[in-house]
Every structure is written in structure tokens, then in C-alpha cells.
């Protein structure tokens, strides 16, 4: 798996504190990479450094196989579509005119512009002034401006901000589709659900530090969900000396793996405790995240 973005020891220090702390990022080619973290955890700062919009205090960045320098940045820019923090756009111009600015800056063709506008379903509203756009329309325009250049890499910072559920679903499908065509997409969010549904690789940031990077499955492996043993006689079960808590349907046990589970079932069965059902609790990404950080979730 080739990496499209690689960072080693990437650090950004502002006067008072470290916003990004020794980040080792690996964004694989042709995937949607979900960059997750609470407010102020350093997502935007990291993305800005990758785009050369702000200089790292220390560390190395490689983008599309090249170390990021002033010279390589100029060469790489046309292949990287981006939107950081909020969608850009000149309010006194129409959506179409904004797209023509991008067209002229990057020498794009008119079909590329038409196609990008159609992709975000803005063709109908392209002749309206951007200052009269709704938040969702501005967001779409921002994405169209990033898409028009047919990028090899797309870096989008919270692209679904302000979109309605149908719009979020559209963008999600769009990004998955782009990744299917070999485009690498790095997308940040603090909304777990959203990322969970589109990203195949996740990077989780907390206070500037990477606390997890890998696939969704690997993430779930990091934390074992609680086991629920449904029984009509929880007293008998607890009398076996298990570390468990009582729940309405029986007992609940934390942090026990497959082997331990087999042993517990055997022990209870031998002791004649009636077991109706043994199952793991359904675990959301949020549960995993809380488990991982030991704090109150992402938002």
C-alpha cells in the first residue's frame, strides 16, 4: 500500500502550547482517510502544514512521494484539492465566476468546471451571487473548487459542516466513489458517525497527539466490548467469584477476551447456573473512542 501522505515527527508549536505533537501520519493511496479529533485537537493545523500553508516547527512531510519544500509545493499544488476550516468564495461574484477564478489560476478547461459544478449539484444555482448562497451551497462550491482540478489528493476539513442529512449522504457517497477511482481523500471531522460511514482508514487525534491510526476493525480490536451473560440466577453466577456487575438481564463483564469467555461459560455451566444467552454489547465508535482515551467522548 503506497502512502500518499507521510509525516514523521510532525510538530507545530504555537507560543503557548503544542498544537500538533510528533505526528506520524500515513495516508494510503485510494482510501478515504478519516481524520478524527475533538475541537482544538489540531486537525486543521495538521492539514495546513500538509498543504504548506503553515510551516511545521519540526518534522518531515512527504506528499505524493515528494518531500514538501517550497519548490515541490508549487509543482504539487495543482494535484491537491483542498478546503480548510470553511469554504472559500468571493461573495460579490457568482458561483460560476468563482469557479472561473480557479479555472484561470490553474489553467483548467471549461468542461472540468462544468463537471465539478454538476458533481456537487450546483449547476442550477451557479449564476447566483455567492453572498446569497446558503451555508450548504457555499460548502458545495468549496468542494467544487477543490474537485475541479481533478486532484490526485483531496484534503477536506469538515466538508459536511452545514449540510442537511441528504447533502451529507451525497458527499459521503461522492468521497467513497472518488476513492474507488484511485483518488486519495483525507477528510476530517469531529462527528464520529459521519467518518465511520465513509472512511476505511482512521487517524484519531487527541490534544495534538495521534492516539490511533489504522482500519476500523483494528480500532475495534483495541478495545474488547463488554460481555453480557443472560441468566435467571445472577446471584448464583456472582457467587462463582467472577468480577462482574449486575444488569437487569443478568451479569455484565468487562475486558475479557475469547478464551476467558469460554472459561467463564464452562465454569457457570458446571456450577449449574442457567445461561440463556451470551453476547457482546453493541459498541459504537464513540464507545471505542472513550475506551481508548478514557475521557468523555469526542463532543
Amino acid at each position: 500500500m503506497t502512502s500518499v501522505i507521510t509525516t514523521r515527527g510532525l510538530t507545530k508549536q504555537f507560543k503557548t502550547h503544542t498544537a500538533v505533537d510528533s505526528l506520524n501520519l500515513d495516508v494510503p493511496q485510494g482510501h478515504v482517510y478519516g481524520f478524527l479529533g475533538p475541537n482544538g485537537s489540531g486537525k486543521s493545523t495538521t492539514m495546513k502544514m500538509i498543504l504548506g500553508l503553515t510551516q511545521p516547527t519540526s518534522g518531515d512531510i512527504k506528499v505524493l512521494g515528494e518531500p514538501l519544500t517550497r519548490a515541490s509545493r508549487t509543482k504539487l499544488l495543482p494535484s491537491i484539492g483542498s478546503m480548510i476550516e470553511a469554504p472559500p468564495g468571493y461573495g460579490h461574484l457568482t458561483g460560476r465566476e468563482n469557479m472561473r477564478i480557479v479555472q484561470d489560476m490553474l489553467d483548467l478547461s471549461t468542461p472540468q468546471i462544468d463537471h465539478a459544478l454538476a458533481t456537487v449539484r450546483l449547476t442550477e444555482q451557479q449564476h447566483k451571487l455567492v453572498r446569497n448562497y446558503s451555508l450548504g451551497m457555499k460548502q458545495r462550491l468549496g468542494i467544487a473548487m477543490a474537485l475541479a482540478r481533478d486532484p490526485a489528493l483531496l484534503i477536506l476539513d469538515e466538508p459536511t459542516n452545514g449540510l442537511d442529512p441528504a447533502g451529507i449522504e451525497e458527499i459521503r457517497m461522492l468521497l467513497v466513489d472518488l476513492a474507488g477511482r484511485g483518488i486519495t481523500v483525507m477528510v476530517s471531522s469531529h462527528l464520529l458517525d459521519e467518518i465511520d460511514k465513509m472512511a476505511s482508514v482512521l487517524g484519531i487525534l487527541s490534544s495534538g497527539k495521534m492516539i490511533f491510526q489504522g482500519s476500523r476493525d483494528q480500532l475495534f480490536e483495541q478495545s474488547v466490548p463488554d460481555l453480557i451473560i443472560e441468566t435467571s440466577d445472577p446471584h448464583a453466577a456472582l457467587a462463582q467469584g467472577l468480577t462482574a456487575t449486575r444488569v437487569p438481564e443478568g451479569i455484565r463483564m468487562s475486558g475479557i477476551d475469547k478464551d476467558q469467555t469460554a472459561k467463564v461459560i464452562y465454569q457457570l455451566a458446571v456450577a449449574g447456573v442457567p445461561i440463556y444467552e451470551v453476547r457482546r454489547v453493541a459498541q459504537s465508535l464513540e464507545d471505542v473512542f472513550m475506551d481508548l482515551t478514557g475521557r468523555g467522548g469526542l463532543l
Binding site: 472559500p88 468571493y90 460579490h92 461574484l93 477564478i101 489560476m105
Partner: protein, 248 residues
């Protein structure tokens, strides 16, 4: 790149500024002349001198400050700087394109001044004598002479998010400029002080300002030469500033 910058001028307030300031100068010049016909009795020469006096000392330079601030203000909005920096391949092209695009309304401002003056002189004041077409040349020369100030105001407006701050600095520069053209001792400075260069260019051939020089190649060319050289230095400085400050 230049096309993109020109597109941004569409529906922009720069045009209003470029329309109002010269019309103000023509109006005050006309009123001034009409009220002092016995002292200002040299016809067209008196009239154009009246118009360019205050315009050259103040209005023109302030207009440039306002237009530059307006041209950059849109880039400071929201995340437009991100867009600008991720679509600009060469900062030097951006700097030159912005300067040229500020120059367009500035040139329009001069067009309004020249046309307004000639129209008012003919129709309102009914001045005798041939229409002084060389006044159009003064208008054109002053657009070139304005390049250093355009470059400086563009740099300031790029750096400062505030709309008013660069204009205030420009106004201070005007005050210094007035001192350099009116004081005998400071006069040499008026050849290198951006606002004063504007004043000198607009008053070429004027009868209202002492030591203003004639509308001759001998007086105009050094002025234009200095202006071009000066502007070039500021452009280089601005490119360096983008590299060090904006791509920090």
C-alpha cells in the same frame, strides 16, 4: 492569473471610489474658479491647475489607498487566503497581477478626471481658447507615476486585515508629501516620496504649484523612471513578504 484578478473587480466598490474622487476634484475646481475669476484669469491653464492642485496633493493618493484596500479586502474574508495560496503557483505573478488590477480603476479615475475637467471647462465655465488636450497626457503620466504608491498600498493592504489602517498610513504619507513639495528645503525628497511623486506628476505644467516642472520629456521622464524603479523594488519586497509571512 491576471484574468482571475480582473474578474474579481466585477461589482467591486473600487469603481465607485474611482468615480467619486475625481468628480469631487472637478467640482471643487470649477467652484473655485467661478468664484475667483479675477485672480484666476488664465483660462484653461488656471482651471486645470485648480483641479489638479488638491487632487494631486490628496485625492489621487487617497483614492489609490482606498482602491488597494478594497481590492485586498475580499482576500481577507473567510478562508479566501487559503484559496489564493493553494492556487497561486508563483507569488510574483500574484503580486504583479494585483498591482495591475489596482491600476485599472486608478486609470479609470484619471479618465474621469480628464473628461470631467474638459467637459466642465467647456460646458459649465465656457472657457475660451483651445481645449488643452495635453491635459490628457498629464492624466496618463500620473497613472505610471502612481506605481510606487500602488505597490506600497497593495503591500500594506495585503498585510493588514483592516481596511482603514492602510488608508490612514496613506493619508499620513500625503501629509509628508505636501511638506516635501511645498518646502524648499525638503523639495529633493519629493522626487522619491510616493505621494509626492503623484503630486509632481499631476502638476506637470501647472501654474498653481511652485517648482512643478513643465510638461516636457525632460521633466516627465525622470519622474516616470524613478516611479518604475521604485515600484519594482516594492514588488520584490512584497514577494518576499508573501513567502515569509503568508506561507509561514
Amino acid at each position: 492569473m491576471l484574468r482571475a484578478e480582473i474578474l474579481k473587480l466585477k461589482r467591486s466598490a473600487t469603481w465607485i471610489i474611482a468615480l467619486i474622487l475625481p468628480l469631487l476634484a472637478v467640482t471643487t475646481g470649477t467652484i473655485n474658479l467661478a468664484n475667483n475669476l479675477d485672480t484666476l484669469d488664465a483660462g484653461w491653464a488656471s482651471f486645470t491647475s485648480q483641479v489638479t492642485l488638491f487632487y494631486g496633493l490628496l485625492f489621487f493618493s487617497i483614492g489609490i489607498g482606498l482602491i488597494a484596500s478594497t481590492a485586498w479586502r475580499m482576500e481577507h474574508r473567510g478562508t479566501n487566503w487559503n484559496l489564493l495560496l493553494t492556487t497561486t503557483r508563483k507569488p510574483v505573478k500574484l503580486v504583479i497581477a494585483k498591482a495591475l488590477v489596482i491600476m485599472i480603476p486608478v486609470a479609470f479615475m484619471q479618465l474621469v478626471l480628464v473628461a470631467g475637467t474638459l467637459i466642465s471647462g467647456t460646458l459649465v465655465l465656457g472657457l475660451d481658447g483651445a481645449i488643452p488636450w495635453q491635459f490628457a497626457l498629464v492624466g496618463a503620466i500620473s497613472v505610471l507615476a502612481a506605481l510606487p504608491l500602488i505597490a506600497i498600498q497593495s503591500l500594506l493592504s495585503m498585510l493588514l486585515k483592516s481596511f482603514a489602517a492602510p488608508v490612514a498610513i496613506c493619508l499620513l504619507g500625503c501629509v509628508v508629501g505636501v511638506a516635501t513639495v511645498t518646502s524648499e528645503a525638503l523639495r529633493p525628497l519629493s522626487f522619491i516620496w510616493p505621494q509626492a511623486i503623484n503630486t509632481r506628476a499631476l502638476n506637470l505644467g501647472s501654474t498653481a504649484l511652485a517648482g512643478s516642472g513643465g510638461l516636457t520629456a525632460q521633466d516627465a521622464l525622470p519622474l516616470i523612471g524613478t516611479a518604475l524603479g521604485f515600484a519594482l523594488v516594492i514588488v520584490v519586497l512584497t514577494v518576499t513578504t508573501i513567502r515569509t509571512v503568508k506561507l509561514r
